[in-house]
Amino acid sequence: MSCKRATRIISVLAALMILIFNEGCNHAPSEVADVRPASEITSGPMIDSVRGTHPLISVLISSEHNDLKDEQILQFGVVDSDTNELTPILGSYQRTEDLLSFTPSFALLPGTQYQARNILSNTHTDYSFESAQATTPTLDVKPNSDTLPANHLKFYLFFSQPMQQDTPWEHCKLYDVTTGNYVGRPFRHTDLWNPDGKRLTLWFHPGRQKTGVNLNVDLGAILEEGHKYELQISGLWQSLEGQPLGTDYRLKFTATKSDHEQPDPGQWALIAPDSGTRQPLTIEFDERLDYAMLRNQPLTVTLGKTLVDCQILPNANSTTLELVPSTNWTPGTYTLNINPRLEDLAGNSIERPFEVDIQQANAEQSKTTTITFTLDP
């Protein structure tokens, strides 16, 4: 094998490696409805837009350009409308004898104007594409009752589609209707999203809601008993598809007395079904419970040692729960096994109060976590 041939093979292998590596740099393209170059191929760079979010941009070159660096020939990026300066985006170049190509490392964004520049010929080609028709997201907030305890801890924001997640508290405000002032920095600056990006837990700053913690001592609690408030969520908040909520969301409520009592299953009322039916077993709590936790394995039902398959259906304001069995109730003595971590709106759980005063005797006092009931034949 001649040296020339060996060198060619090595070159081909190297080119293949570069291509494979380059493929790896690319994100899989997301769905794109309308992919189109803003202008047809001109004397400027050629843009292959088959993969809309990952176009292949190319310019013709010749051996006289061998000494030039790739970026001295071809650049692709976003142009500053004021300065006309192009800032290149990250990507990888591939070069053949007569072609220099560029592929972005990351998916391009719909609705953004990009430009490819052939530095040698001082020509350019613009490029943009639109995403599929986006729908307007909607929002629901829980709990959404007229009254909340002054040491209320958190809201759950349910969106109809994944939202832009960064610094969510910047979209939220708390307005004290009674004083006519906005409450200063009321929210915890930790963004706690569900994996699907459709539910955010928005916390009042616990450092101000916890007795004896420095922020509580320095600034006081966030809510004042008797005051009326409005939780405001900006309509400008956008979904990942770039669609804003459109209208501001406002939740009005009045702060009531702080709640330092634990939920106590011993005080819950049961409305038993008839055996031989699939009537629901209704449980009435002694206070409102946390919306999300009540929907996340709050309890199980057993007959002897056998788990009873039940649908668990809390009501909208989390004051009652219905258990609907998959088959008819049979006579016998049942046990409700309650998750000890179930909390009320102020973070007091069945297991322990939100704040335990360790100077008090029997400070940590778990309530009962089982309830039994008997169904007669």
């Binding site: 060198t7 490392s105 990351f106 832009q164 920095r185 922020l215 996340n296």
Partner: protein, 385 residues
């Protein structure tokens, strides 16, 4: 001459191949302490859904918190040195990263910064807001940007326990200790956090041996609540392994690692109180002139109302002797909030004003991602004597 070229090419390929496989072996095999770091290493798309906090383990292994899947992803970067630290300050880092991702600086969120002590290379985890795209961007000694390829990587993914995955919505730290990886997870339903101990080697697809425990905090020696850890580091004292962590409400506390058992409740011992209204961000230790120091930078809640310095972002160093104090909670040393120094061994670090992220390069220098009137600059800065 032609034979020499051919020989040269073959030699280059052989060397490249040897180098590649030697890196593979190194990453899979052992640290200085003969403890394997990674096992069942995968090749391909890391599948990171939401990139978060990062830190380095030995042998160029980058530990990444994937908040979106409640897991830790360990990436064998192959970046094993030698050290080539950043030569000069890089201005407008946020603008450059944003441009590299095809957007403007308002369109990105920088989650964290880590420095590989073996190479000096800087890694920045970032998310593009508009579509949630995740990226890790590296800066070399010349300040040149390059993407860490997350879709064609050698990696291991270790999920946090299944029963916790639905609840853990934030991983506030991931750190290598000598025989394990530690992670702190925050719940989205309870005001609590768990510390997870992931045994070595980190094994892809395995989470059965993950141990977790809850953390508690006592305020003023009286009010005990669950409390989430904001940042932490591993720490050794008299042969005992600890975690030193900061709670969101600013006390620095320590936890004994041997207390980490399934479903255990461990109570932090508050050793230093930095003052009200500071949100700790990063933490590391260094040793200089025979003294050991803890550095932490914070985001000050009270800045507009009661400024401590020129910026809401500031930092402090604490003599590590404070960490071995037996005093706890209300008796913990309290920084004198009206002065730059005091009590002895607790000092404001002026170089950390405006620092949004900081990471240790070595015992003499740190890398700072600094807020510069709305822009972000990257620079190497001397650690205090």
């Amino acid at each position: 001459m032609r034979r020499f070229h051919l020989f040269g090419s073959c030699l280059a390929i052989l060397l490249t191949t040897a180098l590649y496989f030697s890196q593979v072996t190194t990453a899979d095999a052992e640290t200085k302490d003969i403890v394997a770091i990674l096992a069942n290493v995968q090749e391909g798309d890391t599948g990171i859904k939401r990139v978060g906090r990062m830190s380095f383990a030995p042998n160029g292994v980058l530990l990444v918190a994937d908040i979106g899947t409640a897991s830790v992803v360990a990436i064998d970067t192959g970046d094993t040195g030698p050290v080539k630290k950043l030569k000069e300050r890089v201005n407008d880092v946020d603008k450059k990263i944003a441009a590299a991702l095809g957007t403007n600086k308002e369109g990105i969120n920088i989650a964290d910064m880590a420095v590989n002590p073996a190479s000096g290379k800087i890694y920045v985890s970032v998310q593009r807001k508009a579509d949630g795209l995740n990226a890790i961007i590296t800066f070399d000694q010349n300040g040149k940007l390059a993407p860490l390829n997350l879709e064609k990587a050698r990696y291991v993914r270790v999920s946090l326990p299944v029963e916790d995955q639905k609840k853990i919505a934030n991983i506030s730290g991931v750190e290598f200790s000598k025989d394990r990886v530690l992670a702190a997870g925050q719940s989205n339903e309870e005001f609590s956090s768990r510390i997870y101990s992931l045994p070595l080697p980190l094994t892809h697809g395995k989470s059965g041996e993950v141990y977790s425990t809850e953390t508690y905090h006592v305020a003023h020696g009286r009010w005990e609540t669950r409390a989430p850890i904001q940042s932490f580091i591993p720490y050794q004292e008299e042969g005992e392994d600890y975690i030193v962590g900061s709670f969101a409400c600013t006390p620095i506390a320590k936890f004994k690692i041997s207390d980490i058992q399934k479903n255990a409740h461990i109570k932090g011992t508050s050793v230093v109180e930095l003052g009200s209204g500071n949100r700790p961000v990063d933490m590391f230790t260094y040793e200089k002139n025979g003294k050991k120091w803890l550095i932490t930078n914070t985001d000050r809640f009270h800045h507009s109302r009661r400024p401590l310095g020129p910026s809401q972002y500031w930092g402090v160093r604490v003599n590590m002797d404070y960490l071995s104090a037996d005093k706890t909670n209300e008796e913990a040393a309290r920084r004198v909030v009206t002065q730059e120094k005091g009590p002895n061994g607790i000092e404001v670090v002026k170089a950390l004003f405006f620092a949004k992220h900081v990471a240790k390069l070595n015992n003499d220098e740190m890398v700072i991602l600094r807020d510069n009137e709305g822009a972000l600059d990257l620079e190497v800065s001397a650690l205090p004597e």
